[in-house]
């Protein structure tokens, strides 16, 4: 095995694939990165028990020679040493070749590294198959929005494993991500371009989606999603991201969402974030960072909180409009801030149905987002 490559392309691939590699995997060889060298491209693979990431680097990109002096073969190289070495190489090009006993020579300028590699025969066979029947297409920036506006609401606790994942459904060309930890719910949909799409409901581990979010670009490039054998594959021409799915039935969350509203608040997102951040400074951590919201009159609310040892805070805040009944309600400032910061809209609409019922945060311009928070009983 031998090849010469432009360092920046190799480095980009290595950085994507590194996200899948954990320092102490169940199978020891998975602590390394696999390199497969072919005439037309090289493939880098990193894998953990939950996800596998592959980066494909083509020898020729738009007529530019990226890889040359190719002789086929494979090797598994140690992480983090291999990525760290490539990052610090002195020159634009690097030559990599295998000698006897999987010793791998990495050369760039005057720097010559020898790394003790392992046989790729020891590396588990990972099948990356596309299922043409369970397949859909989505823009990178839309997929990032779906992840960012839902994944923070998954449960961190293993007591109900299915809630550590994000529920993904397709219905009438609408792709919907839903996450809940049973105290709050985050739901986001995107309309797909093609019609007649069929895909089984799946539940993807929240941690897998967080890793996926790191390696996809937030642009218009199309990402394909394909489901098979209890796994989901996200891929472009260069990157393949495979995650296991969670098994079990995701709870029916639709009945949590109230249909009526007794008090409706329209407010600047930024003003509300700033005021709640101030109130959160004195919300007691023991009490789940609870803060209180009171309607004051037709165009203002008061946000307050209280920490028995430290002190208290009140702040009156002008809103765009309030409609309906007076309201006093308490909720977690942490949940509210995570929700508001995931929303990109300048203003939000909050619909309450009384101090003990879940309330909904939406944006005026976009029907495809719905966030729900359960209040906290304090009085």
């Amino acid at each position: 095995m031998k090849f010469k490559i432009k360092k920046k392309y190799l480095l980009r691939g290595i950085q994507a694939v590194s996200n899948a590699i954990s320092p102490r995997p169940v199978i020891p060889i998975l602590s390394g990165m696999k390199i497969d060298v072919m005439q037309s491209k090289i493939i880098l693979t990193g894998s953990s028990s939950d996800i596998t990431i592959q980066s494909h680097i083509q020898s020729n990109i738009n007529g530019e020679e990226i890889i040359s002096e190719i002789s086929s073969g494979s090797i598994v190289l140690p992480v983090p040493h291999f990525p760290e070495i490539i990052k610090k190489l002195p020159k634009e090009f690097v030559e990599i070749k295998i000698e006897e006993n999987f010793k791998t020579i990495i050369k760039s300028g005057e720097a010559v590294f020898t790394l003790f590699g392992q046989s790729s025969d020891e590396y588990p066979q990972i099948e990356i198959n596309k299922n043409e029947e369970q397949q859909l297409f989505i823009k990178g920036n839309d997929l990032k929005t779906l992840i960012r506006q839902t994944v923070f609401a998954v449960s961190p606790m293993e007591s109900r494993p299915i809630l550590t994942g994000v529920n993904v459904t397709v219905e009438n060309s609408l792709l919907t991500f839903t996450a809940t930890d049973s105290h709050r719910l985050a739901l986001r949909s995107v309309t797909l371009d093609s019609e007649d799409i069929e895909m089984d409901n799946i539940v993807i581990p929240g941690e897998s989606l967080q890793e996926l979010n790191k390696i996809i670009d937030g642009n218009e490039e199309i990402i394909q999603i394909s489901v098979m054998n209890n796994q989901v594959l996200f891929y472009t021409d260069n990157i393949y991201f495979l995650s296991r799915l969670l098994s079990g039935n995701y709870p029916d969350t639709s009945r949590l969402i109230p249909n009526d509203s007794k008090t409706s608040l329209h407010i600047s997102t930024k003003d509300l974030i700033n005021t709640i951040e101030r109130a959160a400074l004195l919300s007691s951590r023991d009490q789940n960072n609870v803060i209180r919201l009171d309607t004051v009159d037709n165009n203002s609310i008061e946000i307050s909180s209280y920490s028995p040892e430290i002190g208290n805070v009140q702040e009156k805040l002008e809103v765009i409009s309030i409609q309906g009944e007076e309201l006093k309600i308490s909720f977690s400032s942490k949940y509210m801030l995570e929700t508001l910061k995931s929303i990109e809209s300048e203003s939000v609409q909050i619909d309450f149905t009384g101090p003990m019922r879940p309330f909904i945060i939406k944006t005026p311009e976009d029907e495809n987002i719905l966030q729900l928070i359960l209040p906290v009983r304090t009085f």
Copy 2:
């Protein structure tokens, strides 16, 4: 007690003083920040068992009214709550006043905070006296250089407490900082403007100097240094920094420094840093990150390292000049990188007196810096 102040001045003072406050001090009230309000200024104080920092904010700065509506008094407010609140206030001005039972009201725009303060009578009396007889003057940027080029070499171990400090001496208008952990030594001098300066030798804890370095500006402003009662005071018009001193005799380090040189190397600092950083990737952590330097010919050296499980690296490096005997020597890459990164010179001069003797790193243009590293025996 009552005052109204421009937030940015209060915030700057709070941030400097916060560096002295530890979350779990021996005396509980030292977890708070003391505020003394006078007609002409307010004084903020933070203190730990090692250091005390005071920030003085004048009511009037260059004719601009910074503080108004002043009524004198003092209070101790909880940290980190008080700094966090000031940082997040919505408006340019903030009003602070004490009500009954040390309840402190902090108001800015519509935000109203109440903090439970403590009586300043409980706060230890900290005497900040200037000793006019043991006093010297130094520019802020010179003081920062003295600290930065020495403090990294203090010992992290309490086994010889005196080595956890930096030795400070004045002789013939030359102010010298020396630090050693007995494996390496860092020495830096600055010529003082005034003559006939007398000051006792003192040893300042390395941690105190690291905190001091955070709060002094690297400009031409003069900082006064004054020694008394086993304490050292660094001060300007606005900031007072008081540290305890270490007691005991600092070892005589002058006999460590070799006078002769058998091999002398002149080399680009940046090239050497980059090459050693690459070699350090494969230096074994168990073996104290040791790397090896061999002279090759009249204008090049080879840097190499070896990790039994991972692999090895060699790199040939051109130098500006080599004079004297051939050399093979091994040393800690960590010590060498810390030394080279503290030096601002484009090139360094390294003087060796054989593979088992300490070697010296100097800069061609500045006699006032001397760094010494003990080699490691590997062959």
